[in-house]
Subunit: 428 residues, 2 copies
């Protein structure tokens, strides 16, 4: 019978793998450029690790099961709990700030949204053990540097940033507990997507705050930049401190070269409970796709999960939305097989010498192909072409008798006789 | 509470990740050198995919469960069924022979062996659509080229090869069906590890062949090389044909540069049902470790699983035994953090310029670090050293006023004043 991949799982044939490899390759290269070191953890973890961070509700979205050892386990839906677990286990021995990144495959089982993928690859970058805003700027900068290296400009994408501490100083969640504050964030998170009245109703009914306070909260979002906020709330010392920090954040990002990629946006709050400071999301400027990347500061998570107190800031960037954007902008490299050399034997008698040259060229680092079954020369040339060979060596009986090999450059058609020793020996 | 990884799963901290990355990096580099293209599939597949290939017995070793959509699924224990599924789905559109490789993480749940890992990474290389022995040689050559690139010589490792077709021509399994033949292989597979009498008993009791035939089968294994076999069985045309093929296999491997790494061994049969021709296993010469790699020809598997008839040859090489061998031979690169530049600000006032230089250097491809929180110069130098910086730039108020930056090479201690513009501008 003909089998299929499970729903929501991708098969990566060589062309699709090349796209994934291109994206993850740039992620790794840029992470190293910013001095981050790569780690990885198990794709399967104890279920409690996720429940402890996100509550029982998360279980509905997980690929979880009971294993043969009666353990409740789950395919990892995100990397941060694994990171917290790992750092906690070795916190004392690790140099702070810790600068780590990872490129895990993550899994979600969402019953209700059948069309969606159930796995994706996500670039996770985190700085742990530093509360200075320079860490926040560095983390957003590495995300933007990767997008830039992939060919996206500040006209293509924008990182909108905010700080939950600013919103709190401005009065968000005043008089309520953490639950009400989170409900308020969740309502605000939809501010740009839903009518103001819907948000207001939600603030009153779900977040449970009075209508007057709801209006006051919404009034905050009439101010669209830091200068306006400074004018309106400049009398509050605590608000000023937050504005100063956000201004430093923006200025550092500009100095690092990403001014054209960044903008303050008070409506960015992120829907997750654990953020405690700066938050950001990166979008395509045309607003056609879901967010490409989201992150921020989460100073309490490691204490909650890992029992070690370390301030932290980081992000996750998935390969799916990003891949769509790159494809749409024509920024994905064309997939074509490639080889440096294709070796052709005119008769089977030349195979032994051909194999020796293949071995010698490969030992020098060249990508080398040859036909595994004998075929006529024309057919072998056709195969060389189809497999993207740049140069061809033809081993014929007369030429070999004279100690020579025919060398042909496929692009130009240029062809000459060369000494066999040149291909067997040291220098190419 | 302090969480732990599940039993049998590895946490890859940066030093362990560096080892994995070194090994998988060489695998990928060598595969490309041999003209193989990378693919990947889902880590989770339908359970029936494995049952169909290996029978119900396999289920006892799998990480399998029923998902929320009531599907029987399993974390992939091997890559070949996924490969067969994929190739079958697109067989007509793929250029033959197909030369593919993959580096999947694989999973087994073995209840009884608690100390063992339940996951590992495995390099899978396959040629599909070619029955010539050159394909068999090419596949073993790519495995050996990777071991060579990792620093292992023919004194460290050896690939022992054989051909099941030869054993059959020599009379193995004569008069019995496929089941008896497999039982015979399974008995022979232990020939070098268990006393001859035990093997003989097993041939009689498990494979169900008579005592006389068992002795005849065991007599085959007194011949240790192809020349001896040729003398003993040279009258049989069909044996000669197999001996010729195995000799061509060895000769091609020698031409490709791996003569010192290979040896014929009639006791190599591999324990798996699906091999139909050449089989090989790579061992450390000292015989201290389990096999590093195993593979061979499996001409019927794609027809059985994928309903498409394509001869195939391939292997799997895991990262665990190989990693142990490399560590033991001192062939793993030392893990040390590295950076090209570490930028030091004498006072916070220099941070803006420092960030600009960081951005400029990174845009040129350099790996750049700097302190995220202000600290004294000595402490920053210490951090630069701990993080493996090769060069340091010091931004001081007097130097900047003169448009200069102090440049220090950490290895030599050499230090000089350089124009700031040199670091901000085009050429480094």
């Amino acid at each position: 019978m003909l089998h299929k991949a499970l729903p929501g799982f991708r098969d990566f044939y060589p062309p699709e793998f090349a796209v994934r490899s291109h994206i993850t390759g740039v992620w790794r290269e840029i992470a190293h450029r910013f001095g981050f070191e790569e780690y990885d953890g198990p794709p399967l973890e104890a279920l409690e690790l996720y429940v402890e961070k996100s509550g029982e509700e998360i279980v509905g979205q997980l690929y979880n099961f009971v294993d043969k050892g009666e353990r409740a386990v789950a395919l990892r839906p995100e990397m941060t709990p694994t990171l917290a677990r790992r750092v906690a286990a070795r916190a004392a021995g690790l140099r702070k700030p810790i600068r780590w990144f990872s490129v895990p495959q993550l899994f979600r089982y969402e019953r209700t949204q059948r069309g969606r993928l159930r796995e994706h690859f996500q670039w996770n970058v985190d700085i742990l053990g530093e509360e200075a805003v320079a860490a926040d700027a560095e983390v957003l900068a590495v995300a933007l540097a990767a997008l830039q290296a992939l060919g996206l400009t500040g006209d293509d994408v924008v990182a909108r940033y905010n700080d939950r501490r600013l919103l709190e100083r401005l009065g968000l969640g005043a008089g309520g507990g953490a639950d009400r504050l989170l409900a308020t964030y969740l309502a605000i998170d939809k501010l740009t997507r839903e009518p103001r009245e819907v948000i207001r109703d939600r603030l009153v009914s779900v977040a449970g705050i009075g209508a007057t306070v709801a209006d006051a909260v919404l009034a905050i979002f009439q101010y669209r930049d830091l200068a306006e906020l400074r004018l309106a709330f400049g009398k509050s010392e605590s608000v000023l401190r937050e504005l100063d920090r956000l201004e430093a954040y923006g200025a550092q990002l500009a100095r690092l070269g990403f001014g054209a990629y960044t903008a303050f946006d008070p409506t960015i709050v992120r829907g997750l409970a654990y953020y405690t400071g700066t938050v950001f999301e990166i979008f395509d400027r045309r607003g056609e796709l879901r967010a490409i990347c989201g992150g921020g500061r989460y100073d309490n998570l490691l204490r909650n999960i890992g029992a070690v107190s370390l301030p932290a800031v980081g992000f996750g960037m998935g390969d799916v939305v990003l891949g769509e954007l790159l494809a749409e902008r024509g920024l994905l490299p064309a997939h074509r097989p490639r080889a440096d050399y294709y070796l052709i034997a005119v008769t089977e008698a030349e195979r032994p010498v051909l194999l020796q040259v293949a071995g010698a060229l490969r030992a020098r680092g060249a990508a080398v192909l040859y036909g595994l079954k004998h075929a006529n020369v024309g057919k072998q040339f056709k195969d060389a072409d189809a497999r993207g060979a740049r140069e061809v060596l033809v081993f014929g009986p007369e030429e070999l008798a004279a100690g020579q090999v025919v060398h042909r450059v496929m692009g130009t058609g240029e062809e000459r006789r060369t000494p066999l020793s040149e291909w067997l020996g040291g220098g190419a």
